[in-house]
Amino acid sequence: MAESGLLQIRDPRKPYGKPVGIDLGTTHSLVAFVDGEGRGQTIPLEGDSHLMPSVVHYLEDGSTLVGRAAREKLAAHPHETIVSVKRFMGKGPSDPEVRRLGHYRFAPAQPGEAVVRFDVGGKWVSPVEVSAEILKWARRKAEAYLDQPVGAAVITVPAYFDDAQRQATKDAGRLAGLEVLRLLNEPTAAAVAYGLDRRARGTFAVYDLGGGTFDVSILELVEGVFEVRSTAGDSSLGGDDFDRALAQALLEQISTVLGRDLRRDPFAVQAALAGARDAKHALTEKERAVAVVALPERTVEVEVTRAQFESLIVGLVRRTAVACRRALRDADLEPHQIDGVVLVGGSTRVPLVRHFVREMFGGKEPLGDIDPDRVVAIGAAIQAENLAGESRDDLLLLDVIPLSLGVETMGGVVEKIIHRNTTIPASAAQIFTTFADGQTAMDIHVVQGERELVSDCRSLARFRLEGIPPMPANMGRVQVTFSVDADGILSVSAKELTTGVEQSITVKPSHGLTDEEVERMLLESLEHAEEDVATRLLIEARVEAQRVLHDLQKALTESADLLVEGEKEAIARAEQALREAMAGSDHHRIEEAIADLDRASTDFARRRMEKALKEALTGRSVQEIE
């Protein structure tokens, strides 16, 4: 394979082009970047519009249209056109979401199948694949606008997304060929955009009502550190529900007039949703509006007053109070202790919502001067820049896990292992004991949620610990460590305590794709023909190798005194092997050599961190750790 020209111009510290922030929303998606003046800016994605509809239309040949062009196909092809795919991320075929008012056609659920799939003209696609189409399109638009490659992004997720939903979002990013620098919680992103703008200090609530999700987060801001105190929400409540409530009312009224039940007709449902959405927007400014429902045979107009609309949605708006109250309690705060409230999401334009937020947080006028549609993408771009080491702001985000993690115990009861609102990264260990003589394997079921019974929580994964040496009952003890990373994603490791042997774990996600499935999709996707993937993997492996070697050189020069007997030689051998592998064109070999060098230098890295901590505490150095 020819040497890639790209490799020479890539900076090993910045191998992925311009970092961007992507708000992958239920109804719209946005991309933002940080400009030369250090300001976050969104990018026009559809002509002049910065909001691209999160809609994907599947054509007969399997190719796709995304955005406005896809939305135009919705009326004529409701089954082949997927809207609000975010609602289905990380969901299984029997999820209640699948049964709501909508115009989707789902693939028949296969026994044991973990992921819901849409039937788009005979082709079955998962929500991850649909989202990846949106991300690919957004990326292409951003590259054209910025006139440079875009390969790394911070993608935002609702704070209340569980592990399966986060994992699905990350998989979609990977499938779109993006290096996902971080999954960032939407309210935290909004706080970043506001906080940095105002150099603020204090306690803030972020009320984020998007198209399909609701989040509220309480953050404390001190000198560029954004510490999330609590978060709560409802990952299936949003402005779409307002549309649905109004559409439902319109359909009932029209069905009565026409003497024909239209509520199950996908064309009528789609037309009513479109009419409801336009009427909702009009009612933000006006007291009355006309909902236009363009049925295939005739167009029907229905007048709607703001009062009527509000009576349809007041229950939905009140549902957000439950989460607000819980977030305040978990942060141990009273409403009057909140210094400011930030509004995020297009649905916060609805007057009833604004009124409600004012009431909820002690009468304070909420902040909404950064466009509530764009603020999340802007915050994400700032964090992307920060993670790529480009930021001028001394910014740090300390976020939390939104829902408790636990394991199933006797009688289907949940034992919580990591509690909600624990700052991440976090980990906790739990010891499991064998209950039968000679037992060599153990099944563990991980769930997420606050309720006591497993059946009321979200099933995340089941895994099996194997290779336990045969012993009498209660003698085999396995320590399982649950770790949640800064993306809020769980990983599990296990160790048998009597032998100290690391156990192999096969995690089967309850509602997600396995790594193999994502890998296969990546290979199958049209843009990533086998050749391309191999080239890309080779470039990535070399860049990573350069980065590892660069860091190691620096560390060896600065902390040579921390090396122990024989370690220097072991590292040198692994280093030499890596240099040899880099000269070849086999990315597997490079990856293996990186892993070998990684193992050889793990203890050295730990010792350097330990030393850095000691130095920080004795005040000798509170600068960056090198």
Partner: protein
């Protein structure tokens, strides 16, 4: 294994300067948070992540007085564990607990919110007193007394949590 006080570099003891603790936590987070090591080799990222997990755990334990006290006692060899620790409690307190529970159950079944709030108010007052008693027990190095106060505080916290859970349920029924 370094203990939580050493990780955060604060003197081992029950009375801690909470502002200093917060400032220290933020300083260390700036150094070790994974975001600060995003562009580095896997070994470095992992080592920083492990450190940050320890820092978070240490801060979570030490910032909250009851958790801090239980941890401090465990360092001194007095393990309260996750159990109720009732062996450290005076019998009259256990009687009070039962009476309090009954009063709550009764008020709850009648839907008497004012009565429930009064019970919560009283529990909070007792909680404040127990915290004072806890601090002075530690001042006197009276570990048994400290253990007794921790057990008491855990009871009160559980009681207050149950009240909150009930109030939340009522609120959800009204707004869900």
């Amino acid at each position: 294994m370094t203990d939580h006080f050493e990780i955060l570099g604060i003197p081992r003891g029950f009375r801690v300067d909470e502002r200093a603790l917060e400032t220290r936590y933020r300083e260390l987070s700036r150094l070790f948070h994974p975001d600060r090591h995003a562009g580095r080799s896997a070994a470095d990222r992992r080592a920083a992540l492990e450190k940050m997990v320890q820092i978070n755990e240490a801060y979570r334990t030490l910032r909250e007085p009851v958790r801090r006290a239980a941890y401090l006692l465990s360092l001194r060899g007095l393990e309260l564990g996750e159990t109720d620790g009732s062996k450290f409690l005076p019998p009259d307190f256990l009687m009070e607990v039962m009476e309090r529970r009954e009063a709550f159950e009764e008020a709850r079944s009648r839907g008497d919110r004012e009565r429930v709030q009064a019970l919560a108010q009283q529990a909070r007052r007792e909680r404040d007193e127990a915290l004072e008693a806890l601090a002075s027990a530690f001042d006197r190095d009276d570990d048994k007394e400290a253990a007794s106060q921790v057990s008491k505080l855990r009871y009160l916290d559980r009681f207050l949590a149950d009240i909150r859970a009930w109030e939340d349920r009522v609120f959800e029924e009204e707004n869900g």
